[in-house]
Symmetry: D2
Subunit: 346 residues, 4 copies
């Protein structure tokens, strides 16, 4: 049994790791940290996790926790993760970082968007961007995974086959995303209180959201040149899910049926990425609680525009599920272990 620790275990991604790992036959959670809730059991804070009544939150003291685990899931806020990740990594542990701290390969871009310097650039160079559909081989050999952001996961998977096959005017990429409210994390903030979010819908951080450079980094790698994108996130009154609607101008004449084929081929061997037949489109409700990304496609012939719609569960494929997927790849076990679930519908 692999011993794993969860640093930052009282947020939504932390408890989602606990939920998923409870099904995992080859892993045991040996430690979970929280500064605020240190001393309390997981089930005291989260009654639905009654299976974890003997697991107590502890403060994150890196030296003390080091020997408790072989692999560390880091679910800390951006900026706070940097140093701990570096420490565990240098001590020879495997680390999967769910924060943004090791996702941007260029430390300058990180600093520009996150307003903090990156102090561990040597370690940063060792990090692998943990999107299995793009980096499976590198993940298998890595010790440090930068688990992708939720929006970038939905956007990059939606754009990848079209860009890889040179079908897209790279100057025209528009990414319009809608997220459920769990994406904001578990926090006391009137802006995310029930009465402010419910029956509402709004755009936010237009053109300035921190996931923008992450999307641009990966799209640029695929395109082989620097790409800038338009990315607009929206906040919606549901718990889980991201639906991303993307618009790209096509550089070739191609039918919807053909583009569906291109996508189906690209993801033919992927366990968690599904491409829908022509005429069908995804709904976040159909992926809730699962690690699946579903993609629907259509071409507007009148404007020669490809419209791509992708749906994920932001807490699973967009965070904790993808982290476990990465772990499974690192361990060389069946990738679907603990992740082969069906959406809770309705």
């Amino acid at each position: 049994m692999l011993k794993v620790a969860i640093c930052g275990g009282s947020g939504y991604t932390g408890i989602e790791l606990l939920r998923i790992l409870s099904h995992h036959p080859e892993v045991v959670v040996t430690a979970v940290t929280s500064e605020k809730s240190a001393g309390k059991s997981v089930s005291e804070l989260f009654p639905h996790l009654y299976q974890y009544s003997n697991l107590l939150y502890e403060p994150l003291k890196a030296e003390a926790i080091l020997e408790k685990a072989d692999l560390f899931f880091m679910a800390l806020p951006h900026g706070e993760s940097q140093e701990k990740v570096d420490y565990f990594f240098r001590q020879g542990k495997k680390v999967i970082d769910l924060s943004a701290d090791y996702r941007l390969r260029d430390a300058k871009i990180y600093e520009e968007w996150y307003n903090v310097p990156h102090k561990f650039q040597k370690t940063l160079k060792k990090a692998v961007f943990g999107l299995p559909e793009l980096y499976r081989k590198e993940i298998a050999k890595a010790s440090l995974i930068a688990n992708p952001g939720c929006y970038p996961t939905s956007a990059i998977l939606g754009l990848y086959p079209a860009i890889k096959n040179n079908l897209v005017d790279l100057s025209s990429i528009i990414i319009n995303s809608v997220s459920g409210t769990s994406g904001a994390g578990r926090k006391s903030d009137v802006a995310f209180s029930f009465c402010e979010v419910n029956e509402g819908f709004k755009a936010y951080a237009i053109g300035t959201h921190r996931h923008t450079p992450e999307i641009e980094q990966e799209v640029s790698v695929l395109a082989g040149k620097n790409i800038k994108v338009n990315f607009t996130p929206h906040l919606a009154p549901f718990d889980r899910g991201i639906l991303t609607t993307m618009y790209v101008r096509l550089t070739k004449k191609i039918s919807t049926n053909q583009i569906v084929d291109v996508y189906k081929k690209a993801y033919a061997y992927e366990p968690f990425t599904k491409v829908l037949d022509e005429g069908r489109f995804p709904n976040v409700k159909h992926v809730r609680g699962t690690n699946v990304c579903v993609i629907g496609l259509t071409i507007n012939m009148r404007t020669n525009t490809l419209i791509i719609v992708s749906a994920i569960d932001n807490l699973v494929k967009g965070a904790s599920g993808q982290a476990v997927h990465n772990m499974n790849i690192m361990l060389g076990i069946d990738e679907k272990t603990a992740l082969d679930t069906i959406a809770l519908f309705p």
Copy 2:
């Protein structure tokens, strides 16, 4: 007191007319029709409309209802409205048609998108597109108003000042809309049942929605040439509201502050269209129950793209409120009569 009839009074736009007109000091509702509910009182069907306990639904017999009213609100399904509108109009009545039947000036385009021929093209020529911000003068003199669709209202108001001021690459218009579920109407359909919609989010009718030609018609008028747009509607789990996020490439260098000024000038004398200061964006929750359209703007300097976000209540500014606004203009009375309300928040 002006006598008005509501044809098709048991759907959401019909009862919204009843709600709004109950505050109107110069109007009395003398007839309301419904085939299914004929003989029942309004308050029997809709207990919250207890003020209308003496108003009975009647079947829509054009001859019988003709003398009961001076002005007819037509809230019938598309296709069913055509003939009745023509009849009341030719009998010299004022007609405000909330269906799509008289919105498209070109009967061929109507036929192409709605799959029924337009049999009353002579009357069609008399119809004025009832968007007061664009056609106030024509509305004042008209006897037949084609009340705009909900999505087109949000899109056209969002695009109008930018196009009018020649700021936009007309080939690049992308309109991404999100609607609350009342937009689907009041009907028995498992697809709109609570458990299917709640906690879900999806795109639908991508590139094929019938509001597309309506948007294109008005945008083309503004641009002075034929424009095709990308329009994608989405269904969201809230009752009321449309948020439309639009992306257009700019043809000039201009700052966000300057574009905000352009929009503020364009709508300076409009009672129901509000332009937000730089850095603020609308939320459908802030317009619920009101006839207001709120617009927020930003320019993504990295891609030279203008992003416009507009919010309306689909049942008010997107339907019944705009219809009453049109009526007020036709009557020459204060445009805000019965419409000067504050959003119900939360």
Copy 3:
């Protein structure tokens, strides 16, 4: 024009007062207080209240605000209201207190349930419990109104005719209430964040909620003796509304039809309390945004139990609307002024 001030104007009851008073032809809001938001305009905090762009929040300095208004709505937290109410009252102002501080006539019971002493018992004696259906005459002559709590309003109106007519076993009263989340106020608290409340439902404060003694006080007055009740509140995932389901054993044989008559008679002249015909029951959705309390009744003949269901909007009839109703009575004007609205449905 009567000048009114709202002390504590940035919570949900405060902004609901602003919404309602904006329709009021005989009142002008001259001051609104908030410690946190002092210096900001109302519309900066609440964009939907754009009509109030010139009204600035100010800190609550009693002496400074005294001359600005003739009537003070106090929407402060319990305990904080006591002293300010006493001050304005003693300075000869009219005061309507939406807190609990002057609702319990017995200062000992107040202290027992609220854990603070009541320091202004002389003023307490002058307060009138502002439930117009019970105390209209006293309200008309009063200068200090203790505006009832939301749960008590729904419970007392539901029980009043049955108790008054001696139909009820007074030892058997069970009050099961369900409230929308706005009842918790506008605050930063993870327990009321969207993701914790949405798709959830729970009971809380069973037998210990502070509205219990308020209900008992009024029920005891009606019964002419000391009554203890079972009161259980629940938190539900909607914004507004309280539905209270009450169970009382009958002391006489009586039919549902007869009890409906008893209730209809009791509320025959009430502008805001509606009794439904046999077989119909209220829905909070039908009273949203209105000052109406709707009551449905049935008798379970198999157990000789009367079940009473009442619905109100907790922010209107349960708070700010009732406060304005009380003000109208105090001013001797039409009671329905500014309150004669139709529910926003859907």
Copy 4:
């Protein structure tokens, strides 16, 4: 591998069976019926069930389906189930009936509440009420299980220990239940459309709901005499879950702590019934997607009333999960097989 068929497989309980059984290591679903959707695959109707792309709906022809399975889950509407259940049972198959047709032991009471005669009273006598906490031994030996209703499951489990221990005034039982909308099934009905249910809350079928005699039957067995109860269901705007709040007068002096002990003892060996410590109460959000019933307890000393709150997921413990639990018991395998899941939270 046990072969099972699901008769009535396109409703919410049918697809919930498919979801749960997909995890079951000893079962294979060999047939699933639907009249309307015959010929379509499960995944065509329900995209989230993509694992079932080769399983086609077929019309329910009893003779044709007989040999396909060893055990039949019957998820047909009440009344329609009777005959098919009888047929499969007499052919020697194991049958678990999720309809109400075999729950009431007295055919006259069935007829009285369901308005259809029971034509298979001989088979009815063989049916075991499938509440494992009460009838585990009988279930183990049975061939025909009447799977309990959702409301009765929550009510009976909440009342059982108190009644069994003679703590309750049996004439005073009040059962106030609140259900999510999936309890109404998957159907085209405007009353359950999103805009009618969302932001609403109401009581329905007060004193007349068909689950009343089912609760009374089991409570009477426990009490050893005929009991009548007050049962009021409510409809709430969430997908899944039932919260039942029960009020019973105590016949003895007992503390909350003691009653918690009584309940903990009663359910000490139950895998799916959890009793909370004093001061804690359940939330339907904590049991979503699980087969767990959580119970919280308190005594109101002022009225000597025990208040019991139970929470279940109506589609799992209230239907399909309990059906699988019953199957596991019938098969003599680990009762938790396929049911040992953690709630999806948030």
